[in-house]
């Protein structure tokens, strides 16, 4: 049996998984620390995409555009936290959810007013246009870059969380915000910081995909839904779990395309629901 098709599907799955991970990481951080389920995450993602496009159109500089897109998405995250989320922290979960949902609606439409209704994309950087060819499928260097960035982000986040005071404080707020306050940690600052990081990560994900996936209003929805599934399966609040599950979901859904093209999403939802029924806290979550 020729295994090449499976190898290429696994490769593609790893690349897709890395994208899910970049989004899931922001969701996990925001949910874990701030305890807000952020429906507006796609907003930051799409903002990153459009900013990438806009800056690239003006400067033609890939790295600069990527940096600016990430920072602007992060800044939007901060604005959002300060203007809206801060007012709903103390309310019931449902109001937080709806607030993020409302923001998502508003931004989706607002983006259309600014960037129009069509799709935009930018070319892949010159140096990364080619790729490795396996069995007729080109494994593009740019896709490999996304996988590497995903892995690097994982290493950086784990090192940051375990080896810096700020990381320690974030973990502390994650577990017990009240006690952290009593120890002199400003949870408000941490919340804002986490929103910045989460939104910036989503923006980075959005910016990175512009050369590969065309961007239009609302196009990130499916990606975000999958990232949510990842976070839920992994357990709300587990960083390592989110990485592992992102990659697994990427690879699994990619292989399902090959073997049961009919049923890929159904199977994914079924697996997610099955895991939830057995372990509502998710595979890596604590109760």
């Amino acid at each position: 049996m020729d295994l090449t098709p499976f190898l290429t599907q696994i490769f593609i799955g790893l690349y897709k998984g890395s994208l899910y991970w970049i989004l899931a990481l922001g969701l996990v951080l925001i949910f874990g620390v701030v305890r807000v389920i952020n429906f507006a995450h796609a907003t930051f993602y799409v903002t990153g995409s459009y900013m990438m496009y806009t800056f690239y159109m003006y400067t033609g500089n890939f790295i600069l555009s990527l940096t600016m897109a990430t920072l602007i998405a992060g800044a939007l995250g901060v604005a959002f936290e300060v203007a809206v989320i801060r007012r709903v922290y103390k309310l019931e979960t449902i109001y937080q959810l709806l607030a993020t949902f409302a923001i998502a609606l508003i931004f989706n439409e607002a983006q259309k007013l600014v960037w129009g209704k069509g799709v935009v994309y930018i070319p892949i950087p010159e140096a990364l246009r080619e790729g490795v060819s396996i069995g007729g499928v080109t494994l593009n260097y740019y896709m490999i870059l996304i996988m590497v960035i995903g892995l690097l982000l994982f290493i950086i986040v784990i090192l940051f969380m375990n080896n810096t005071i700020m990381g320690l404080r974030i973990r502390a707020v994650w577990r017990d915000p009240v006690m952290s306050e009593a120890l002199g940690v400003s949870t408000r600052l941490i919340y804002t910081l986490v929103f910045f990081v989460g939104a910036a990560l989503a923006g980075l994900g959005g910016a990175l995909t512009v050369p590969l996936i065309s961007v239009g209003p609302g196009l990130a929805d499916y990606l975000i839904v999958t990232a949510f599934i990842v976070v839920v399966i992994a357990g709300l609040g587990s960083i390592t779990g989110a990485y592992i599950i992102s990659v697994l979901v990427g690879v699994l859904s990619s292989i399902l395309v090959l073997i049961t093209p009919e049923l890929d999403i159904v199977i994914l939802y079924m697996i997610a629901a099955f895991i939830l029924l057995l372990r509502p806290q998710g595979l890596f979550g604590e109760r």
Partner: protein, 431 residues
């Protein structure tokens, strides 16, 4: 399909006619009764004076996708409709009555919008509708609305075959080509290509399924030696096709058929290029590949396969090369700053269809208008449209063409291949 199709194939021999004579031949190939109907259409009514409509304004409700990801399509519909209305009003309206348009977003509960158009806005006609599901919904309640509905984009054959022909919902008409264009005609293009093994990637919904089914069935009948080695079904709204593409590329297919459209098609084409699809597939057929949103988005990046990237749409601005069409394209470009997309033309022509019917009948009574519209033949930018009486489907030709780059902002077409519409359309009784 109807019994006389084989006869057509014989008469027309190759079945494919050249660009220059395409329109003329296609016209000539139409059955005799069509030409007879022409006469009734051309008969003007010199004897009657003071022909007027009972209302000073004819209101046309226009439905289209105006919010969310697909709102470009609603925009095309709106631009086509506005252009037609502006032209008509500038020339004194329809029998002296002004045309007024009311636009509604079909994504905000299409049935509610349709009812509101009729009951609150007082629309005399409803036109437009992008999504097949929505067309079926409005089609389902059309007798309750009591107004003529002209669908200008949604392509499901069930609308005309089931609702009009089988269920007798005579108020429904369609000015745009149905899914036959995507499935059946594509097979006529495919049969002449020197490839045997086909791959398919289509949306996992009615339109994608039917396109692929018609394509494979027709092609197999025309060329029994072909094989369909792989088919993939991404769902509606897929933003990343990479897993599907790599599954396609893992097969030994030599050519690719796709009915994916709009934004998704842009992504699909780019990712195909990136992943080496255009090194592998010698030919690509993209049934809605010359929709203007796609052509503008891809621009000079529009990939070309060795044996051609064959594209079509429900109307393509370079075809037919008639003066009427050229004038329309110029007027459209002057008005909106871009080339007309297909739903702009189909909506534009729908309004002119209504105009013709109103001028003939001089009434707003739907029953009389239905009779007038049935069998109507009218010259439109897309060529001559004949409204088939049985299923109220407008019959006209749209060719397939090969994408070429000539340094323009949008890619152009070469080797336009037109096949007479009567040849590849399904015919009553649609068995």
């Amino acid at each position: 399909m109807s019994v006389d199709r084989r006869g057509f194939i014989k008469t027309l021999g190759a079945g494919v006619v050249g660009l220059a004579v395409g329109a003329v031949l296609g016209w000539a190939a139409k059955p005799l009764e069509v030409r007879e109907v022409t006469k009734t259409e051309t008969v003007t009514v010199p004897g009657v004076v003071e022909r007027k409509l009972p209302k000073a304004t004819v209101k046309i409700g226009v439905l289209g996708i105006r919010s969310g990801l697909w709102s470009t399509y609603g925009e095309f519909i709106e631009q086509g409709a506005r252009l037609a209305a502006e032209e008509i009003n500038a020339k004194g309206g329809i029998l002296g009555s002004r045309v007024e348009l009311v636009f509604r977003d079909e994504l905000a509960d299409v049935v509610k919008q349709a009812k509101e158009l009729v009951d609150v806005e007082g629309a005399d006609f409803i036109i437009g509708i992008d999504s097949s599901g929505n067309a079926m919904k409005v089609g389902g309640i059309v007798s309750e609305l009591g107004k003529i509905l002209v669908v200008t984009h949604a392509a499901t054959h069930r609308l005309t075959e089931e609702l009009v022909y089988k269920e007798g919902k005579k108020l429904i008409f369609r000015s745009s080509v149905p899914v036959y264009q995507d499935g059946t005609l594509a097979a006529y293009i495919a049969k002449d290509l020197p490839v045997r093994k086909w791959a398919g990637i289509n949306g996992d919904y009615e339109f994608g399924r039917v396109s692929w089914e018609l394509f494979t069935k027709t092609l197999k009948a025309l060329r029994p030696d072909v094989e369909f080695v792989v088919d993939q079904w991404p769902k509606f709204g897929t933003e990343d096709f990479t897993p599907f593409i790599s599954a396609l590329l893992a097969s030994d297919a030599e050519a690719l058929f796709t009915s994916i459209w709009a934004i998704e098609l842009v992504t699909l084409q780019r990712q195909l290029t990136i992943m080496g699809g255009y090194k592998k597939f010698r030919a690509v057929i993209s049934t809605l590949g010359y929709s203007m949103d796609v052509a503008y988005s891809l621009g000079t990046d529009y990939p070309t396969a060795e044996l051609g990237t064959w594209v079509s749409a429900r109307y393509m601005w370079p075809y037919p090369p008639t003066k009427a069409n050229k004038d329309f394209v110029d007027r459209f470009k002057a008005r909106w700053g871009r080339l007309p997309a297909y739903s702009a033309e189909t909506t534009y022509s729908a309004i002119y269809m209504l105009k013709a019917a109103l001028e003939n009948a001089a009434t707003l009574d739907p029953d009389i208008l239905i009779k007038t519209l049935e069998g109507l033949v009218i010259m439109t930018p897309a060529g001559v449209r004949w409204i088939r009486p049985e299923d109220h489907q407008a019959i006209y030709e749209v060719p397939y063409g090969r994408i070429v780059h000539k340094g323009a902002e949008v890619p152009l077409l070469e080797d336009l291949k037109a096949v007479p519409a009567m040849l590849y359309y399904r015919h009553p009784p649609f068995t």
